[in-house]
């Protein structure tokens, strides 16, 4: 029934996502806001419910059966993430709340060791969460924040990369995939340049880890951050990967229970990795849920997920380009997002009318105000896809765009 090119069985995948049965304003839901957060398969929802119904307990503290079961599952989730991104061990994997907290952890810990005048390089396409922490800490600590420019196509400009990563640079922090333009940045190459200059490479993988195979060692990233909720997992759980020797040398970001080895009235020694960075009672059910989401993606295969994304996004770009008056932002080679505008209709109006057709997209600045100023638009509309989306849904979305044009008479 579904005409897809993919080798994946989309119909049976869709059955795993209860929310896809929903109707919105009387129409079948078309969920194209996956870059903001993905939907969750019943396997994840059920695993969390099972945790609360059967082995809810605090981890690492309780010598009883439930505590041990919970601890084992939570630790196992760290190991699954490690395998998923080809890290050496669970010790490289720190659980946080989300990408934002992961990046703040790195930013606070790393900038504490920098001197006045040291430089940090980010790009013009960063999400606020990989921008504001560096900007604010640079202000507080007298550091210099440099911006790698984007070219007309929306890719990082090669010359600007070399200009802004120099011997003065201590940290380079870049998004792997842009949540607005879809640009896939050559992190491996940039990490090389960073390392030649003795700078550390921090990667915001929020839009990459859910959509493509990640090998942190091949990329040679020093730190890699992402969010569980964008990759079929629950909200409230994120990941920071770090190289072991760096994590060992860093000061913890949050102090309290669980992250300590021994506390006396005079001082504290810290727990081993990764627990040194996981202070207080963590989001345990969410950690378990993320582990199951990783199992789900791994079973399908990240190369297949990436392949399916490509089919969907090319189809969407092709169909959108056929509509008069539509401007598409970003390069040809892109992740699973397409940002666009329809004539001079405000993106909010576009999103509102699509919503009345049951089509959920995002409209606004996408937490990338500096990028909007470079693109010289107040906002864009954005459709973003994931493995359960279909070509038929894209057709419904395109019909919605025609409706927008009808309503506004353009």
């Amino acid at each position: 029934m579904l005409s897809t090119k993919t080798i994946l069985d989309i119909e049976s995948i869709r059955k795993d996502f209860p929310i896809l049965q929903r109707r919105v304003h009387g129409k079948p839901l078309v969920y194209f806001d996956n870059a903001a957060t993905s939907q969750k398969p019943k396997q994840v929802i059920e695993a969390m419910e099972f945790y609360y119904k059967n082995y809810n307990a605090n981890i690492h503290r309780s010598i009883h059966e439930l505590g041990e079961e919970a601890t084992a599952k939570f630790e196992e989730a760290h190991g699954k993430i490690a395998d998923f991104i080809k890290a050496d061990s669970y010790q490289n994997i720190i659980f946080t709340k989300n990408t934002t907290e992961s990046l703040n952890l790195v930013a606070y810990s790393l900038t504490a060791g920098l001197k006045k005048g040291d430089e940090i390089a980010v790009s013009q396409m960063e999400h606020h969460s990989n921008f504001v922490p560096w900007q604010q800490l640079a202000k507080q600590r007298g550091l210099k924040l440099k911006f790698i420019k984007i070219d007309d196509e929306g890719k990082l400009d090669g010359e600007s990369i070399r200009e802004n990563i120099t011997k003065k640079t201590k940290i380079v922090s870049l998004t792997h995939v842009s949540n607005v333009l879809g640009t896939i940045n050559p992190i491996g190459e940039i990490a090389k340049i960073a390392h030649e200059n003795d700078a550390l490479m921090v990667v915001d993988g929020a839009q990459a880890a859910p959509h493509m195979p990640i090998d942190v060692k091949k990329l040679d990233a020093d730190f890699y951050a992402f969010s569980g909720h964008k990759m079929l997992g629950p909200t409230g759980i994120g990941v920071l990967y770090g190289k072991k020797e760096l994590l060992e040398s860093m000061q913890p970001f949050l102090y309290g229970g669980e992250m300590i080895r021994e506390v006396t009235f005079d001082g504290t020694s810290f727990n081993e990795l990764p627990w040194k960075f996981e202070a207080g009672t963590m989001n345990i059910a969410e950690g378990v849920g993320l582990g199951v989401a990783i199992d789900y993606l791994t079973k399908i295969g990240m190369n297949h997920v990436q392949g399916r994304d490509k089919e969907l996004v090319s189809y969407a770009v092709e169909k959108l380009s056929e509509v008069d008056g539509v401007t598409i932002y970003g390069p040809k080679e892109r992740g699973a997002v397409v940002s666009f505008n329809v004539d001079n209709i405000h993106a909010h109006d576009v999103a509102q009318i699509l919503d009345s057709e049951g089509v959920a997209i995002r409209a606004g600045h996408h937490c990338c105000m500096p990028l909007m100023s470079v693109l010289k638009v107040p906002a864009t509309a954005r459709a973003s896809f994931y493995l359960y989306n279909t070509e038929q849904e894209i057709d419904a979305f395109i019909n919605g765009i025609h409706k927008v044009k009808n309503v506004f008479g353009v």
Partner: protein, 125 residues
């Protein structure tokens, strides 16, 4: 349905659109979240609005709301306008609005109220 005929009509052919060179006060408000902008020009005589124009760009709701508001306030006294509320604007628009879109609808009222504040505080003697 949000995009009713009258809303679209005001959006496509805004009333009182433009500038007034010799306005008693003009003021600009901006919603960075959406990029909606409205600048309002008021001519005030004997504590009454004798002329008004607005300028701006943004979503249909923000611009239609500004256009409709300018139509309503001409001839009104400053004191009356200070009493305008969110409810008055919603009534004027006559459409259901989600909390997110409320900001768009109310930008014109903010611009008007702040124009009056500035007028009373700094301009009026």
């Amino acid at each position: 349905m949000m995009y009713q005929e009258n809303i679209l009509d005001h959006y496509k052919s805004p009333r009182n659109f433009g500038k007034i060179d010799k306005a008693s006060v003009h003021h600009h408000e901006y919603n960075p979240l959406c990029g909606d902008e409205i600048e309002m020009f008021l001519v005030i005589e004997d504590k009454k609005i004798v002329d008004v124009k607005f300028n701006g760009h943004g979503c249909a709701i923000s611009q239609a709301s500004a256009s409709m508001l300018t139509e309503q306030i001409k001839g009104k006294s400053v004191e009356e306008l200070k009493k305008l509320t969110k409810e008055n604007i919603l009534e004027m628009l006559g459409i259901p609005l989600s909390p997110v879109r409320l900001k768009c609808a109310l930008l014109s009222l903010d611009t008007l109220k702040n124009s009056i504040l500035i007028y009373e505080k700094y301009i009026e003697r």
